[in-house]
Symmetry: C2
């Protein structure tokens, strides 16, 4: 059901994927049930299976394309731009993804915790290639003295870890900060800017 033809098909497919994202991102693939998804979607269980061949197919539809979206900010890092500004821009866009798409982040995290059975190939291919490419750019900037020297791959890991934490561990972040800070993201953004400036400004 990748190309729904009618408007009603379009709408129901989206409703199902939206509900599935809600459930899969919390419970993982095995922990989620079609009953839960059907309930959230407000549709009957057989109706779900009219639009998607199986539970696996719904999950697959969510996963495919997710990695691409996730990597877009890294892809956008311009080799001809200003090094520190480019890196800070990357961090900012990645943090915005955590803020605006926390469920997608948790879906991805769930897949990682399970050992990435469904996207292992993409990790070792598409992801690895892009990281290698951008690491080379970072390394060049460091060699030119425009960025303080540091392991470029672990630098990219640190961007992922620090930004995704605010989506994946959202409950913990809010529990610690208390109800005072309704939205932790502005503070997080400031903190991360300071962190990466001090780490990278030559």
């Amino acid at each position: 059901m990748t190309r729904p033809r009618t408007r009603i098909q379009q709408r129901n497919s989206e409703t199902i994927l939206e509900a599935a994202l809600e459930v899969f991102s919390q419970q993982g693939f095995r922990g989620a049930t079609l009953d839960q998804i059907a309930e959230v979607a407000g549709l009957s269980k057989p109706n779900l299976l009219y639009y998607f061949a199986s539970k696996e197919a719904i999950h697959g539809a969510l996963l495919s394309g997710l990695l691409a979206t996730w990597l877009n900010p890294l892809r956008a890092m311009d080799p001809d731009g200003d090094p520190v500004a480019e890196l800070l821009g990357y961090v900012r866009r990645k943090l915005e993804l955590s803020r605006d798409f926390p469920r997608e982040s948790r879906l991805f995290a769930n897949e990682m915790l399970q050992g990435a059975p469904r996207i292992r190939a993409a990790l070792e291919g598409e992801l690895r290639d892009l990281v290698q490419e951008k690491s080379a750019v970072l390394q060049r900037w460091m060699d030119e003295g425009r960025l303080a020297p540091v392991h470029p791959v672990h630098l990219i890991f640190s961007v992922w870890a620090l930004t995704q934490h605010y989506a994946d561990f959202d409950v913990q972040v809010r529990a610690v900060l208390g109800k005072a800070a309704a939205d932790p993201f502005p503070e997080a953004g400031q903190f991360l800017e300071v962190l990466f400036r001090r780490l990278l400004e030559p």
Copy 2:
């Protein structure tokens, strides 16, 4: 079955918890099954339930105490020590936990992704209190000019995020680094030391 009396009880309880950790840390609570745990443990399913009252009880036994272990390194941060050394020591010990107990880290991460239904109270109590206490210490060090100023709570978050990433996203880390680096932890340790030195040295 918190206090097994005989040696055989001791041994089987441990075997079950070990197997359960393996499965729960990958699949989460709902995704894991007693069949899987029994298979990994090499015991029959009814035998599992002779030692633990229910699936829930096994999971609870793993979870209880986990938060305490997880917080020990933060607890060990000495208010009378050297600020930068204390912080770096905290980071080092936390990274060692990720290296030596990755499954425990993933069990915790799974619980977070699900919204922490079973440890919400501890997050808002024990965890929050300790973070507040240690944040005050960090703030004092900053006020005394012995640590560069930065949001102390987000600083603690950054330690968690950066160290746990190497356990929770282990598959991704290894996929990106390739088979060349069999053990990413030495490099990670060096990177994190550089990062926190540049961030915090006044």
